[in-house]
């Protein structure tokens, strides 16, 4: 029973971070109607930024959020503005070509980081990286618990933004009907860039929060792009609420896989869930709302 509860806790904590990754990808998916296959690579860049902040300036990873998130926001905006929006203007290209572009962007990000930092494994060891506290006999990683709390706060902020603000309404309007949104006086291209920036910033938050308990190397983006993709499909492609559910499900599945099948099964479990969803539940977790 203890093992079960312990696994449950680990899965939920990790799932909170996966939810951030999935929510970011879903936001991009909703507005641009494409899967951003550079999502994990963007997260990887944020992790390196966090590493630099910690290693060279001694900045705590939680404070580094204030650097990594804005930096990735700008990176996302730049990518949308200078590489993806121009593709949409070329009438001879299908919008799907944007997906290929994101694959290319992911490769470029990975190789640039490899060039600067080499392929060595890096990590950020803080005073609390290995700390834990106990509730009963269940241990909670201090770092992951704090990360989970921050992830919840960021998610709540995201919902507030989407539901209550003009920017959020504009984002949803562009997602539902671009042409009608333009007729409302919404600057559609700017909203696209903003959505890409927000999605990247959410991935950045997850990366930064994960770093104290994780390790870092340039190719870490790929597995996280795959996870983001799985979560987005699990969530029913385009539903933010669904993506959060999807993140939790994947976090739990990986945790239970690692405990009951073996550490090496983490990724396999995710892919099995992915196939199962495609086969048996193509709509993903019920679309509760489309925010």
């Amino acid at each position: 029973m203890d093992v079960f509860l312990q696994t449950l806790v680990a899965g939920v904590l990790k799932g909170g971070l996966y939810a951030l990754i999935g929510a970011g990808m879903t936001l991009i998916m909703g507005v641009m109607r494409i899967i951003n296959l550079a999502h994990g690579q963007m997260m990887m860049v944020a992790m390196y930024i966090t590493y630099v902040c910690f290693h060279y300036w001694g900045l705590d990873p939680y404070l580094a959020l204030f650097i990594s998130m804005p930096a990735l926001f700008l990176l996302g905006v730049g990518i949308q503005k200078y590489t993806l929006n121009p593709l949409l203007k070329a009438e001879s290209l299908l919008p799907e070509n944007q997906v290929l572009m994101t694959v290319g962007i992911g490769m470029v990000l990975t190789e640039v980081i490899r060039f600067i930092f080499t392929s060595n494994y890096l990590s950020v060891k803080t005073g609390y990286s290995d700390a834990a506290f106990f509730l009963g006999r269940i241990s909670f990683s201090v770092a992951l618990t704090i990360a989970f709390g921050i992830a919840c706060a960021i998610t709540a902020f995201l919902f507030w933004l989407l539901v209550k603000t003009d920017l959020g309404r504009s984002i949803r309007a562009v997602a539902q009907d671009e042409e009608a949104a333009a007729l409302m006086g919404i600057h559609v291209e700017r909203i696209r860039s903003t959505a890409m920036g927000l999605g990247a910033a959410l991935a950045a938050a997850a990366g930064t929060l994960l770093l104290p308990v994780y390790y870092l190397y340039p190719d870490i983006g790929g597995p996280f792009t795959r996870r983001a993709f799985i979560i987005t499909v699990l969530g029913g492609l385009g539903s933010t609420v669904g993506a959060i559910g999807g993140g939790l499900v994947l976090g739990l599945a990986e945790a239970f896989g690692a405990t009951y099948i073996g550490m090496a099964s983490e990724e396999m479990v995710g892919l099995i869930i992915f196939l199962a969803v495609l086969l048996f539940l193509p709509e993903g977790l019920k679309r509760l709302t489309r925010v």
Binding site: D166, R169, S170, R172, A173, Q176, D177, E179, A180, A181, A182, L183, M184, G185, I186, H187, V188, T289, R290
Partner: protein, 234 residues
């Protein structure tokens, strides 16, 4: 106020409008009539810069609209209520209305615009928290016109507001458009209900196969033999 001057419009290689020109004067209710596929909606899209004319000019109060982006056209006060309503179906009625007031000009008056729209369409107020996709056809059209009014239009362009409505609702929508116009909003309306729209408008023109074939006052056109034969079945 609005001058469309000799525009040619293409979709890809297919030309849809040939040398189309007309003028909407301040304060008037102007109607553009024509059969299905004549190019009426295309003309409105050109005015809102959703599509760029290959030739010709579109000017609003002396400024060239065809050089602007769609959101800049709205900023000038030229508001387009598109064909088929195009509400944001998963958002509530009130969210749709608020989205009608996204320009700086309209945002400043958002509260009072909302009161004005709810006064014009009490049914929208009763359904303000309902997703727009669940409204009836008539209510959706009211929401679409209301959303247009939220933009504080100086020129309101309405594309076939009566599309798909029962005759009784058509009358209601027409009287609303007329009421809005009477409140001082210059209005450009597209209609297939030729008889009714010519009867309420100040001036009109007839579009046939992408060309303007007739223009004049509503009464003149109502009594024009060509119009009577082609559109009124008389």
């Amino acid at each position: 106020m609005l001058e469309v001057d000799g525009i040619d419009v293409f979709y890809g290689d297919a030309q849809v409008l040939w040398d189309v020109g007309f003028e909407v004067r301040p304060g008037e209710l102007f109607v553009l009539v024509g059969a299905n596929g004549a190019g009426k909606s295309t003309a409105l899209k050109a005015i809102s810069s959703l599509i760029r004319p290959a030739r010709g000019r579109i000017q609003f109060e002396g400024e060239a609209l065809h050089a602007l982006e769609p959101h800049q056209v709205v900023e000038r006060g030229v508001v387009h209520v598109p064909e088929g309503r195009r509400l944001f179906p998963e958002m509530t009625v009130e969210e749709n209305l608020l989205l009608g007031a996204m320009t700086r000009r309209a945002k400043a008056k958002r509260r009072s615009s909302l009161e004005w729209v709810y006064e014009l369409f009490p049914r929208l107020q009763a359904r303000r928290r309902q997703p727009a996709g669940t409204l009836s056809g008539g209510e959706q059209q009211m929401a679409a016109v209301g959303r247009g009014l939220m933009g504080q239009p100086r020129l309101l362009m309405v594309d076939e507001p009566s599309l798909g409505l029962a005759p009784i609702l058509v009358g209601e929508i027409f009287s609303i458009v007329r009421r809005v116009h009477e409140e001082g909003v210059t209005t450009l309306m597209i209609e297939q209900n030729v008889q009714q729209s010519l009867a309420v408008c100040d001036r009109a023109c007839v579009l046939e196969n992408g060309r303007i074939v007739l223009h004049g006052s509503g009464q003149q056109l109502l009594h024009n033999d060509q119009v009577r034969a082609a559109y009124l079945g008389l």
